[in-house]
Symmetry: C2
Subunit: 436 residues, 2 copies
């Protein structure tokens, strides 16, 4: 226990950065007992170096320029918590270039430039830890990359954006409209002032990119992800889904098929009795399907200073252990040996097969249901469930169906035909359905 | 990829042993891509070497005496799947003695003799992997030992015996009596012919011993676990619990308190809206409470050849990576550095505090409720929920209460006083309640 402390250089002193300092300080004894040496933040960078923080910065050299730490400071590990993909990339590459292992929570950086980052790390033989980049404190990267190493992973699906999950949960429990639930989320700090990245699905797509890569052994390919958010979800759809036995969740889904890998992020109907449908509020969850393990899942806090710090510190501990050992003894960054990470064909969305939820508003007249079901039958689409609501006081009637599994292209064609019917209003709603 | 294969010596060719061979064969390409070299079973032992198996044994040297492999065969890793605590111990220690890393699924061995096993492994500087010993394919050991390494783990609770969970689920869903649900479980292969170890809680206690040790950094201490099974659970209690908003699950619970560590295994009422209450059938789940991560959980298949093989192979992959590196680069067996694993005081069950469910059958006469509530009040026990059922056709009335949190000793005293009341029948039922 008398070994020299492991020196951490922290880039960024925001919520997560302060969380890392707080956790390392509070659990110093516990962590020393695990690692065999103390782990201490010796350097940190902050845009405003004089700002008061909630944690003690005693003994930490604070600098304004993170590059001073990444490229120069006497540290053993560089922890990047600045975010973004430009400065952060330069910092991470600078640290790697001088042989320093890096721990980062930056999903955007990895999803967009991870192949470069991991390539550089490989050349230098240093580790890059990124458990904190997906699902906060939940060790899902470790579960996939190490815990399920014996499996051929067939599919994964996750609630990996807490903002979306909070908004959808509020809409479900309180019947709120999207805009109202979003406003509440912003007031509570669960959504950013500009919530676009979260509610449009971009953040979830970053995370899905990372999960798919380590699950299937393919390079990071953010551009291949089909991305939809939750802005089109209405309280009406949520209620109809409930009546049919489903919950609406925003999921990231990666699936192997004989024709290619599906990579998609969208609001999804899930049977209400599945555990994944019951993970509410800001919680995250990831469901994994392996050929040996079957279905297994993890759930927990996907965000927050302490929860994200939990993952950052776990990575620091892993890195601490690896220091001084050869790269062949390390867990490969993308789960597979670098020369075994291979491009896999990505299935275009039009070719993706899934069940669908379709809600139509229709004029209240005879023969509507017959016409709708007739067109679906023409496209060889079966109806697994149907709900028709009587119009109230001159309103349109509502018809909602859950279809059989059908390709996106065929379903889109069928919807076009339905929209051409004179009594079908333009205001339709459709979401994919996953039964797991 | 042209590196020499990793040679596995498999002790035991039962369900899990065959699962390991099947998974290694089926996923040979995937595993080679992860490890950087093929992983091949070269030797296996079986009591009956001539028996036909469901997997191909081509290229595997089959012997009757496992010690031939443990102590002599040219293998890189010894995988112990024989079970029991005598022969298995000798085999594991023999393998360790000649510097071979060991992977085992044997919870009884580790719970009872793990301190010896890990001590020997430490001396030789070899790894002992035991992910498969708890919760089958769910990587819960890895989650605690590595994924939550930054946390002070405060508590854990798990459904870690699939037989118990299957029986309780059947009793809940079908209203079956314990004996009938057990008979069904036996018919389906979810319970052994002699189910004692499972239904009396011993198997769960073995697993809890292991989880508590790696969560809190203390030696394995099976004898300190307070063990109860599920044989006292009745359909009546399950129904009353449901009416009060609870499910009855068999849990292993380990908790830090200021006065010592709680280690207990028993049937437990859990609020029905908690995720852990919704993990049904043969599934396992473990809920972890860390100071940084908050609450997080894992769930999945806790048994079965392929699911358990998933964990065994994951350990093999970890061991494969570590071969040739110094012990200081390995994850310590019990999560903490060996010299930092310290005895912690164990709280005697009498001092454990929890809420309680108490069901009394009482003669149908005036003043009963007043007397019962009066005695509980005397012991300073509040009633959080109460349900009184009218007698039907001359039967006794039923009174069930959920109490406030109270020490076991005080609750037992109160129950004695209640039993002394002339109108209270001997047939009472009581279970602890956890609200998480």
């Amino acid at each position: 226990m008398s070994a020299a402390p492991l020196k951490i250089g922290l880039l960024g002193l925001g919520t997560v950065g302060q969380g890392v300092i707080r956790v390392l300080q509070r659990n110093a004894d516990e962590i020393t007992r695990r690692v065999g040496r103390p782990v201490v933040v010796t350097h940190a960078s902050a845009r405003d170096t004089s700002k008061a923080r909630e944690v003690s910065l005693d003994g930490i050299t604070i600098v304004a320029d993170p590059m001073q730490i990444a490229a120069g400071a006497d540290v053993d590990v560089v922890v990047e918590l600045i975010g973004g993909t430009t400065t952060a990339r330069d910092l991470v590459l600078a640290a790697i270039a001088r042989g320093k292992p890096v721990v980062t929570a930056n999903k955007a950086l990895l999803a967009l430039k991870g192949n470069d980052v991991f390539g550089a790390a490989r050349e230098q033989g240093v580790m890059v830890g990124f458990e904190a980049s997906v699902a906060g404190g939940i060790p899902v990267i470790k579960a996939i990359r190490e815990g399920l190493a014996g499996n051929r992973i067939e599919a994964l699906a996750g609630i990996i954006n807490g903002t979306c999950n909070y908004i959808l949960t509020q809409m479900t429990e309180k019947g709120q409209a999207f805009a109202d639930a979003l406003a509440d989320a912003q007031r509570l700090g669960y959504a950013e002032a500009d919530p676009t990245f979260d509610v449009e699905g971009v953040d979830a797509a970053h995370k899905l990119t990372i999960l798919a890569s380590i699950a299937f052994g393919m390079p990071l390919n953010f551009d291949a992800v089909a991305v939809e958010g939750i802005t089109r979800v209405t309280p009406q759809d949520i209620k109809i889904a409930q009546a049919l036995g489903y919950r609406i969740k925003h999921l990231g889904i990666a699936k192997r098929t004989p024709d290619g890998v599906e990579l998609r992020v969208h609001a999804t109907l899930i049977p209400e009795d599945k555990l994944i449908a019951k993970v509410d509020g800001v919680l995250n969850t990831v469901l994994l399907q392996g050929d040996a393990v079957g279905q297994m899942g993890l759930y927990g806090r996907g965000a927050g200073g302490d929860a994200t710090a939990s993952a950052v510190v776990a990575d620091i501990v892993d890195v601490a252990r690896s220091l001084g050992s050869e790269a062949r003894h390390h867990v490969p960054a993308l789960a597979f040996q670098p020369d075994a990470v291979v491009e896999l064909p990505i299935l275009p969305l039009e070719q993706v097969s899934s069940a669908h939820y379709l809600r139509l508003n229709v004029a209240d007249q005879a023969g509507v249901l017959k016409a709708v079901t007739g067109i679906l039958a023409e496209f060889d689409i079966s109806i697994e469930a149907i709900l028709q609501k009587e119009p109230r006081g001159g309103d349109d009637a509502t018809v909602a169906v859950i279809t059989s599994v059908v390709t996106e292209a065929r379903f889109v064609d069928a919807v076009s035909r339905l929209l051409a019917l004179p009594f079908v209003r333009e205001d339709i709603s459709r979401f994919r359905v996953e039964h797991f």
